[in-house]
């Protein structure tokens, strides 16, 4: 038992490490620019009038955030690219340099073109040719080689643009594409973005939201409270209803009670809960059909100095529908699976023995069958922890409850990455821990199960 637990536990860090890599990869893939979002608006206005000053403030902001470091401990890239490309902090310019180098293979020429372009484009806009300056500044963002060529051909032949044209034609003629065939592996050491991010995370610094600059930990703590509340009630409801339901369906299998409940639970399992929730909110929380029985949204306001009963009444009115919608799919799931496994147990010899001993049907069901048929309950238990976060996205959205699901949804919509990544990581952690606990519980309920054995009805 202990060895099994230890072997199972040793897999957990690996899963979490991989998940943190996935999350970090997501962070790298995000198309928008976090530095730009954190810069104050005055700086953004600067970008038109004085690009050089803007570049300076951008660089210092990026350095503060650690974006001027390599992304990971090592990098595997084309040998034509310089190993210090990460020092170019602006993503658009990095994309330009990368695309042009991969096209020509000649880094010095690309670098020369880039610096020439920067010098000319950042010169104060001449009064007589404002559109030339705009065109040049747009070239700094153009990472498509052929389009850049087009734009450079369209530039007027003025003395100031001559060096740029020369640099670009050098780029076109002096290619060394053979260099592209070599790969290069570079070691960057521990001063990198991932190391920085993960060590901060391990120290408990979760970062700040890009949206409102509030600490992520605080936002999650507040949301987690509400999600835990509604999920806690839902889980209690599921257990109190589904265990007797499943057991008695198996105990009286084939009877009328069993047949009707089986059909009912099958329907309940198939009806999407977010549809039911939408219907319930539309019909019972709005005056549209004259059936405005429940308060509409949120958790309700508790007035100052309200008694305990008042608080309970207000909260219960707000919680009733969401808890119902959250609970019924799991209720159907657990009851159906409990019925199946309990019905299987009812055919075993030990049940016959118990009956011959003269035990009542209830005593057989509760004392002997339940433990042996408890796999579906454990499977549900495994799902509790991750469900605290993920399962309630739609329900919280529909009933407008300020829980984890709502937090994730809103953060994803405005691309508030620090929040999204932490929620993903947290839910991955909870999923892994839940599955681990379930595996241990399976082994506890049935000592025959060992690691790598096929899990019974875990799907």
């Amino acid at each position: 038992m202990l060895r099994y637990a230890i072997r199972r536990l040793s897999l957990l860090p690996l899963s979490l490490f991989l998940l943190s890599l996935i999350c970090f990869g997501l962070l790298q893939l995000t198309p928008d620019d976090p530095v730009q979002r954190l810069l104050p608006d005055e700086d953004a206005r600067l970008s038109n009038n004085d690009p050089e000053a803007y570049d300076r403030s951008y660089r210092s902001a990026a350095a503060d955030l650690g974006y001027d470091r390599p992304a990971f401990y090592f990098s595997l890239q084309n040998a034509a690219l310089p190993d210090t490309l990460y020092r170019i902090v602006r993503p658009e310019e990095r994309a330009l340099l990368r695309a042009f180098t991969l096209r020509t293979g000649n880094w010095p020429a690309v670098s020369h073109y880039y610096h020439t372009l920067k010098r000319i484009a950042w010169a104060p806009a001449s009064a007589d040719q404002p559109e030339t300056t705009t065109l040049l500044r747009r070239l700094l963002l153009q990472n498509d080689f052929d389009r850049a060529k087009q734009s450079i051909n369209d530039l007027p032949n003025a003395p100031q643009t001559a060096p740029l044209k020369a640099a670009f034609s050098a780029l076109e003629t002096q290619t060394s594409r053979a260099k592209l065939l070599l790969p290069a592996l570079d070691w960057h050491g521990s001063n990198n973005q991932y190391h920085n991010w993960i060590s901060k995370l391990l120290r408990g610094e979760l970062g700040v939201s890009l949206n409102d600059r509030r600490p992520v930990g605080k936002k999650i703590g507040r949301a987690l409270k509400w999600t835990a509340l509604i999920n806690g009630f839902a889980i209690l409801l599921v257990f109190f209803l589904s265990i007797p339901l499943g057991l008695y369906m198996a105990g009286y299998r084939g009877g009328r009670f069993d047949r009707i409940t089986t059909v009912g639970l099958f329907l309940l399992f198939g009806i999407p809960s977010f549809w039911v929730a939408t219907l319930l909110t539309n019909f019972f929380t709005t005056p549209a059909f004259g059936m405005d029985f429940f308060p509409s949204m949120g958790f309700g306001e508790v007035p100052e100095g309200a008694s305990v009963w008042q608080i309970i009444r207000i909260r219960a009115a707000h919680l009733f529908l969401p808890v119902l919608c959250l609970a019924y799919p799991s209720l159907a799931y657990v009851s159906r699976h409990l019925r199946r496994s309990a019905a299987h147990e009812m055919n075993q010899a030990y049940v016959k023995t118990a009956r011959l001993k003269g035990l009542s049907r209830s005593a057989i069901l509760w004392r002997h069958v339940l433990r042996n048929a408890s796999f579906p309950i454990i499977t549900l238990l495994a799902g509790i922890l991750p469900a605290l976060l993920a399962g309630s996205v739609l329900i919280e959205r529909i009933f407008n409850l300020p829980g984890m699901g709502q937090l994730l949804y809103n953060a994803a919509l405005v691309r508030d990455w620090p929040v999204v990544i932490i929620v993903v990581l947290l839910s991955g952690l909870l999923t892994a821990v839940g599955l681990l606990l379930a595996d241990l519980a399976y082994a506890f309920a049935d000592p025959r199960i060992r690691l790598n054995a096929t899990k019974p009805s875990a799907s």
């Binding site: 595997l76 084309n78 198939g270 059909f289």
Partner: protein, 391 residues
């Protein structure tokens, strides 16, 4: 079992009907006539559209923008003479199916309209196309990944795949190196941009790298010893890692990363997230099948192992695979409805069951917006569940 037979038949009929509706959606709901005679010329506007998008035919001249306002000699219209997402301002602001509607005699909005007068029935038909596309597409992807992995893991187990150490080390290490080299150096060198060629080049890099390293390692005596590839352990470990990924949460995060929402991405992500289910079930099934006498007989009669797997073992596992597939189909369609209800990942101009349901939230008394898409979704999920029920 006999009394359940009609239920399964009904479920199959429902899903096939949905498939037909999805395939012929343009001919069922369209604001262009199917066949029309205008100024003595017979036109097939809906069919012609397909030809135009395939580049086979040039557009009709003169171009007709709005067929409803065009004088025609005669016209055969689709059953629902409205396109999904096209507004009908004469019937805007949530017309109920039973309201007085300002339409031509045979062009009622049978299931009502929404705020801009968009026809709900046309939306449902278009939504069934999206649902079927996402359902079948992601199912195919999960089968494409899950069947080979689950099949090999279940059939060969940990000691079925025999070879030399050089072969397995070469294929796994050399293959990885070859793949990375192709991605880092060969792709920019050959300026490969199309998706298909990229995949082909990466696959080539994998195979060539694996073959080369295996050849090289074969020179060392240590690597010439026979060894078997632990296929079952590797696949189980991969499944284990995937199971730990919180699917819905990751899906929301992933789809929010992508700048331009597209149905293909949704299909790909759902498919990739669902392969472990397929692999696990197929593995379990093949574990059972490989110990059956007829496989033993085939082996004794000298058939190749891969031939036994593909010609004899896998066909026997198709039944259970179909059951898992039906369940997965329902799950994928439900997930698509989730996402479009949230408005994440599905293009905004695509009308789906989920987007219709979302529309109903702004106007609670428009019950037809909430009820009809939900009923379709429920029947589809129930049909998939009936077929996916394990006996």
């Amino acid at each position: 079992m006999k009394q359940k037979g009609w239920l399964r038949r009904a479920a199959i009929v429902w899903l096939l009907g949905l498939l037909l509706v999805a395939v012929f959606a343009d001919f069922l709901a369209n604001d262009r006539p199917l066949i029309v005679s205008v100024a003595g010329e017979t036109r097939f506007p809906v069919l012609h559209e397909y030809g135009e998008s395939l580049g086979l035919v040039s557009p009709y001249q003169p171009v007709v923008r709005n067929w409803k306002k065009t004088e025609t000699d005669w016209a055969i219209w689709p059953v629902v003479p409205y396109s999904a997402g096209a507004s009908d301002l004469k019937n805007s602001n949530f017309k109920s199916p039973f309201d007085k509607q300002d339409t031509a005699p045979r062009a009622r909005h049978y299931l009502g309209t929404d705020d801009l007068g968009r026809d709900v029935l046309a939306g449902l038909i278009a939504g069934s196309r999206v649902a079927i596309f996402v359902g079948i597409g992601s199912l195919l992807i999960s089968l494409l990944i899950g069947v080979p992995l689950g099949g090999v893991a279940g059939f060969f187990g940990n000691d079925g795949l025999r070879g030399t150490r050089a072969r397995w080390w070469g294929l796994s290490v050399g293959g990885l190196l070859g793949l990375l080299y192709a991605a880092v150096s060969l792709l920019p060198f050959f300026r490969v941009e199309s998706f298909g060629l990229t995949i082909l080049l990466l696959l080539g890099g994998f195979l060539l790298g694996g073959w080369l390293l295996a050849l090289l390692l074969g020179l060392i005596p240590f690597f010439r010893q026979p060894a078997s590839f632990p296929a079952d352990a590797v696949v189980l470990q991969a499944v284990e890692l995937f199971v730990n990924i919180p699917a819905l949460v990751l899906l929301i995060a992933l789809l929010a990363v992508i700048n331009q929402p597209s149905l293909w991405v949704v299909v790909l992500v759902i498919g990739v997230l669902r392969w472990p289910t397929v692999a696990r079930h197929l593995r379990g099934e093949l574990l059972r099948i490989r110990s059956l006498p007829y496989i033993e007989a085939a082996r004794v009669s000298g058939l190749g192992r891969w031939r036994i797997l593909f010609r004899h073992a896998l066909p026997n596992a198709i039944g259970p695979l179909l059951v898992v597939s039906a369940f997965g189909l329902g799950g994928a369609i439900l997930l698509e409805a989730f996402l479009s209800f949230l408005g994440i990942g599905i293009p905004a101009d695509e009308v789906t069951w989920g987007s219709l349901l979302r529309g109903s939230r702004s106007r609670p008394d428009a019950w037809w917006l909430a009820v009809f898409p939900g009923v379709l979704l429920t029947f589809t999920v129930l049909a998939a569940n009936v077929l996916g029920e394990r006996e």
